[in-house]
Subunit: 447 residues, 2 copies
Amino acid sequence: MSELRHRRGEGDGNDKLENAGESDHVDSEEEKNIEEKYVDELAKSLPQGTDKTPEILDSALSGLSSRWRNWVIRGIFTWLMIAAFCLLIYGGPLALMITVLCVQVKCFEEIINIGYAVYRVHGLPWFRSLSWYFLLTSNYFFYGENLIDYFGVVINRTDYLKFLVTYHRFISFSLYCVGFVWFVLSLVKRYYMRQFSLFAWTHVALLIVVTQSYLIIQNIFEGLIWFIVPVSMIICNDVMAYVFGFFFGKTPLIKLSPKKTWEGFIGGGISTVIFGLVMSYMMSQYPYLVCPIEYSESLGRMTMDCEPSLLFRLQEYTPPQFVQPVMKVFGMEKLNIYPFMIHSLCLSTFSSVIGPFGGFFASGFKRAFKIKDFGDVIPGHGGIMDRFDCQFLMATFVNVYITSFIRTATPQKLLQQVYNLKPEQQLQLFYALKESLEHRNILNLVP
Amino acid sequence: MSELRHRRGEGDGNDKLENAGESDHVDSEEEKNIEEKYVDELAKSLPQGTDKTPEILDSALSGLSSRWRNWVIRGIFTWLMIAAFCLLIYGGPLALMITVLCVQVKCFEEIINIGYAVYRVHGLPWFRSLSWYFLLTSNYFFYGENLIDYFGVVINRTDYLKFLVTYHRFISFSLYCVGFVWFVLSLVKRYYMRQFSLFAWTHVALLIVVTQSYLIIQNIFEGLIWFIVPVSMIICNDVMAYVFGFFFGKTPLIKLSPKKTWEGFIGGGISTVIFGLVMSYMMSQYPYLVCPIEYSESLGRMTMDCEPSLLFRLQEYTPPQFVQPVMKVFGMEKLNIYPFMIHSLCLSTFSSVIGPFGGFFASGFKRAFKIKDFGDVIPGHGGIMDRFDCQFLMATFVNVYITSFIRTATPQKLLQQVYNLKPEQQLQLFYALKESLEHRNILNLVP
């Protein structure tokens, strides 16, 4: 423990992966020999993050101690990334979708590369193609599902695209079957175990990366705010936990990540909640950010104009009893807030309580395979996957949150589906609905 | 090769897992030592199918040679399983759903048990619970989705169930998060690699077993015929490929399963196509088998009565030019068939061309981890997973086939969704639809 406390907050890259002092030996010694040897052998061949820094920066910072240099480099690139993020939002939903796709491909590549190294499949030329083929197939499936969901009416107008829409699942499944058969045919004796392990590895990577980026894109369509706020929360939590840990960190939080401290966890959490409230308040005012992206029949194109929903209209709100004395001090009795801010409380709580577990999971994974980072794309941060580990879990949460608490089946959405029916079916539905409404005395036919 | 040809058709259980003659060495010798040793070590601790036979049967068959004895035992249990299958169909959709659930749990257990043995996690008490917890969670999610889809209207009537429906995804996701956090907290140094591998293993098992049994249940709701015909086709293909291989097998088909022959593959395929046609013809006549399972608003319960759809009504059909001479020989000019029979051709083609790859995949998996069978539940057949390996792929195909070619959005289904809206929203939709129909001159308000 003393060693842990000593090293806490030293900046990334100095973790010792082994704590020689511990002793939770359960296995027999013989087992240990074979397996440890195997894992140690592995570690030699795995890609290790190099912490490469641009040369100019390196020479400019040569006067600083390694701890502070790391701080500065990490800081600079954090700000660079935040700037890039703002630029992308300005670029609109299409730019964001493309970015999500790129990040997803890069994450997949990083995970798969570790798999290749772990199972050492240098002699199997087909396997690399096979993984990428599966990535393509599943992207085709998921992106297609999204596009059909949101642009169905438009796509159905073009004849050859209509074919792709109607048989989308069939085409995707056929593509997958080709990959499956290809895999079985590519099996080579002596490699069986590694091939199956990599097959599983590829599928878990797809599960983590592709399915969740599909959910992220759904969130974007719900309105940019549902994408920007959660992503910023995770970034804020990451940064603030690091800052609080750096300055105040004392109590180690979890064995898995010796540098994480309770001080960072709590400080980061409180910062995230406040940050989330402020950000939601600011962003709720812009229709560009709060309107869902929909196809407008009358305009003949996608729009992000709308009458903002109730969530994004200021409402008077009487705070609970125990908060009122505090309010009186500031001379307020009622609060004017956007209801979205209450939802933002749930999001920020999740991102600061459960979110970090995404990071712990990633650390554990790195430790399991004795690698330092997933890659070395971003100086001071490691690979793309090192930055996005928590984003995936958060995206799923937001998506589930929206479907459960926000989005209710709207008449508009259903009506779109009705219009996809044949005219005589539309008529049939119309009369059935009319009868039912009359029967229940909802429809009063006298205007 | 000569060894292969020699052993072909010897009945299960005598495969040598190593063909010492082959030489596709690519790795260095040193690598081989460590890994081979590791895999060989594994093989010792893995559960091996025991081919246990009930004692009465064993003594009754003691006069036969081992090859024939195996044939008889396998045959008897094949017929027993077919009888059980018929009984279940008689029992109706609920009995089938429960069976699917049981088979699924058993398959999961078999896959997971191999995982435990492979990664030797005897010292980790939490892990077994964790796998089962994930199984429960994902079943809760998928079965819930199904039930809501088909019984939504009924469930929404009961107040406390309404809560479960509205927040279904949120509850499922929360349950999953608990498992995820539990996993991260249960990580123990020195076991990291094995814990992550088993985590992946569990998720792949869930992907194979749970998601696909969810699709099977959807198929059942579409009408029992969509479940019975595909399942029987796979059984028929299995049995006939075995029979043809046993009597005529000469040319080995694939290295992975030395006992599979081209003769069996082709003979099985042709039998399956014929069997599929005959079976579809016979079954299309019974409303009990062809009607989708729906909730009837007027009866207040589930029904399987319906006016059979066009698929299941005899239609006159002029066969293509090149078949007509053959037809003339039999004195026929036109064919009276159910359109479903044409679909059955697609299903049987898939089940005899791609279906067996599910089996090859399972064989490869067994070889990779040097086990003979997944379990020993069914004498002569091995584990449940050994019998159902091809069924999963087939179920997905059927499901995709139905969504792509059979099921179109029906007015009834949409109407159900409309009824889930608030009354004023229903009215809003009604007027919008009315306007649109009038605008397009579809609705002529004079009755």
